[in-house]
């Protein structure tokens, strides 16, 4: 019989192999038990609820198969939320990655006042998201919006019939996307900055000496070298956007008429406020495929980094 790898590993060590392994298990198990109880168990329950019949008052559990999934898929509100979730995630990530790239390149070199600039640029990410979002609710207020005031001064909007940023479906969606991007740009920027510092400066400089212009150097040399770190920033960005409901909840509560509802906020309104736990869980479960894809891609990045 071939011994298990862990056993071989343990035998190779000289001092008290099995005792060290036992100590490892003892030190690791409290965290493992906690994670199994409060991440593993609720995760299993989320799947069970989604194929069961559970409401706030109910006691028993009745298996109903795919009933909840059929029911949510038939609802126009859900289909809208599913579409909106993708629109929300894809458009905000596009905005974020373009802006973060530009900002990271601009912040790469040291200059006077860089520390202050970095603090200002980071504010949206480091301040609590719900507070930043409520700040935007005031900036986009229906009557006293400073955004509208500035636009009216520039004669870009009619002072007496200004746009209702959070009250008209298309504008509300654009506002939610913009505010979420505002929040995520700093996060992606610092991740890209970390990546930029690992690129030897000599390479783009040599290209510049050889006559390659700024854009050519950027697109053919810097950008390809940054690809792994851009992947990381996008993967985290997708998770933090696709599964988030804070900006939507605070700015629009999913309105007007559910036109800015995303999957997490719809799950909240259905499962938590509406007390239909099963249907809410079924909506949440639609987040899983995206999370699985992200997890697989993340493992690939980590694996490649290990070999390199």
């Amino acid at each position: 019989m071939i011994p298990a790898p862990a056993v071989v590993d343990a035998l190779r060590r000289r001092r008290g192999p099995s005792r060290a392994t036992w100590l490892g298990i003892a030190l690791f198990s409290p965290a493992l038990v906690y994670i199994l109880a409060l991440v593993g168990l609720p995760l299993v329950l989320a799947f069970l609820y989604s194929v069961g019949d559970v409401t706030v008052g109910s006691v028993g559990y009745r298996f109903v198969g795919l009933y909840n999934f059929r029911s949510v898929l038939a609802s126009p509100a859900f289909r809208r939320a599913l579409l909106d979730s993708f629109v929300f995630t894809i458009s905000s990530q596009l905005v974020v990655i373009v802006c973060a790239n530009a900002l990271a390149l601009a912040l790469r070199e040291r200059f006077r006042g860089r520390g202050l600039v970095r603090f200002l640029v980071l504010l949206p990410w480091v301040a609590p998201v719900s507070l930043g979002a409520i700040g935007w609710k005031w900036l986009l207020d229906s009557i006293y919006s400073v955004v509208n005031w500035v636009l009216a001064q520039a004669h870009l909007v009619n002072r007496f019939d200004p746009p209702m940023w959070l009250g008209q479906p298309a504008l509300a969606m654009a506002s939610v996307i913009a505010v979420h991007s505002w929040r995520m740009i700093p996060f992606s920027t610092v991740i890209l900055l970390a990546g930029l510092t690992s690129i030897p400066k000599e390479i783009p400089e040599a290209a510049a000496v050889d006559g390659a212009g700024f854009w050519r150097t950027h697109f053919q040399i810097t950008l390809p070298m940054m690809a792994p770190i851009i992947n990381v920033a996008v993967l985290f960005g997708v998770v933090f956007t696709f599964t988030d409901m804070t900006v939507v909840y605070i700015l629009t509560r999913g309105g007007p008429y559910d036109t800015t509802q995303v999957l997490p906020s719809l799950a909240f309104f259905t499962g938590v406020l509406g007390s239909d736990l099963s249907e809410g869980a079924a909506i949440s479960v639609f987040l899983v495929p995206i999370l699985v894809v992200v997890a697989i891609l993340m493992l690939r990045v980590a694996h490649r980094a290990e070999i390199a």
């Binding site: 060290a20 298990i25 991440v39 719900s130």
Partner: protein, 283 residues
């Protein structure tokens, strides 16, 4: 690092300044707006004829006074501090030993388990909140601060284990082996040697966990229904609004007061958090 070299054209430098200034203004503007709103008289705020960028009437402390005297703001501040301290304690007790075990003791399993732990960080609250609310009510913790003290470590523990693993791996193994020769047990070496050298890593975890408590929104909104048990993150945007009326002056003051200290502290430790996010893609 050298400053802008002579080869760099004026256009490049101007472009860089335009980007830096443009983004700094765009990203920080809402906080400037919170500040100016906090000190404006109510009549000045709600007059469409007024230039919103200047004080059309003398500044006032009325909104701040209202915030501290007439609302639960101070209470939310203490709730947040208390929950933050408890979450930090739980996180340290669970994550520090686990991270060391994964970094050192469980051999090649350590790497696999470490990645597994990291992946649990990707499981979002919005997937778990519905069953979790059942778990919380079964434990009898609904509408108490305990609800979030018990659940917040679900995101702080995995990320902290991941961060600390990096720190522990950087400590030379020989150092620990030398301690064993000196007659310490492995566990003794961990307590007396590894923990003191890793204090900066542990401090990073403390700051990370604490700021996360101030930033989390979904679980606090789901599990806590009464205003007096809330944290700042939910109390300010939800419970400072009376009916449908937004008291913008005091609301913006609350946002500013809560945001700036957290931002300052977080900023100091940022580079270390980012090391946790780059998943080894940056060496």
């Amino acid at each position: 690092m050298a400053g802008p070299g002579p080869r760099r054209s004026l256009a490049t430098r101007l472009g860089r300044w335009a980007i830096v200034l443009g983004f700094a203004i765009l990203l920080a503007f809402p906080f400037y707006w919170m500040a100016i709103t906090s000190f404006k008289q109510t009549a000045d705020l709600y007059d469409v004829e007024h230039d919103p960028f200047i004080f059309n009437a003398p500044p006032t402390l009325a909104h701040l006074r209202y915030l501290f005297e007439q609302t639960l703001f101070v209470r939310w501040f203490w709730n947040t501090t208390l929950a933050g301290a408890a979450v930090v304690a739980i996180t340290l007790v669970l994550a520090v030993p686990a991270a060391w075990a994964l970094a050192r003791l469980t051999g090649r399993w350590g790497q696999q388990l470490g990645i597994g732990i990291f992946l649990t960080y990707l499981v979002p609250p919005t997937l778990l909140f519905i069953p979790m609310s059942r778990v919380i009510s079964t434990l009898g913790l609904q509408d108490t601060l305990w609800a979030i003290i018990v659940t917040y470590p679900t995101f702080t523990v995995p990320f902290s284990i991941w961060l600390l693993m990096g720190f522990f791996k950087a400590i030379p193994r020989d150092l620990e082996d030398a301690a064993l020769v000196d007659g310490l047990t492995r566990f003794g070496a961990f307590v007396k040697l590894v923990i003191p050298i890793s204090l900066s890593g542990i401090l990073t975890v403390v700051i990370f966990s604490f700021t996360l408590v101030t930033q989390e929104f979904v679980y606090a909104l789901t599990f806590i229904s009464s205003a007096e048990h809330q944290t700042i993150g939910v109390g300010v945007p939800i419970f400072l609004v009376r009916g449908d009326v937004y008291y913008w002056g005091s609301l913006m003051a609350a946002c500013l007061i809560a945001s700036i200290p957290i931002a300052l502290v977080y900023n100091l430790f940022l580079d270390r958090f980012i090391a946790g996010f780059t998943v080894g893609a940056v060496k």
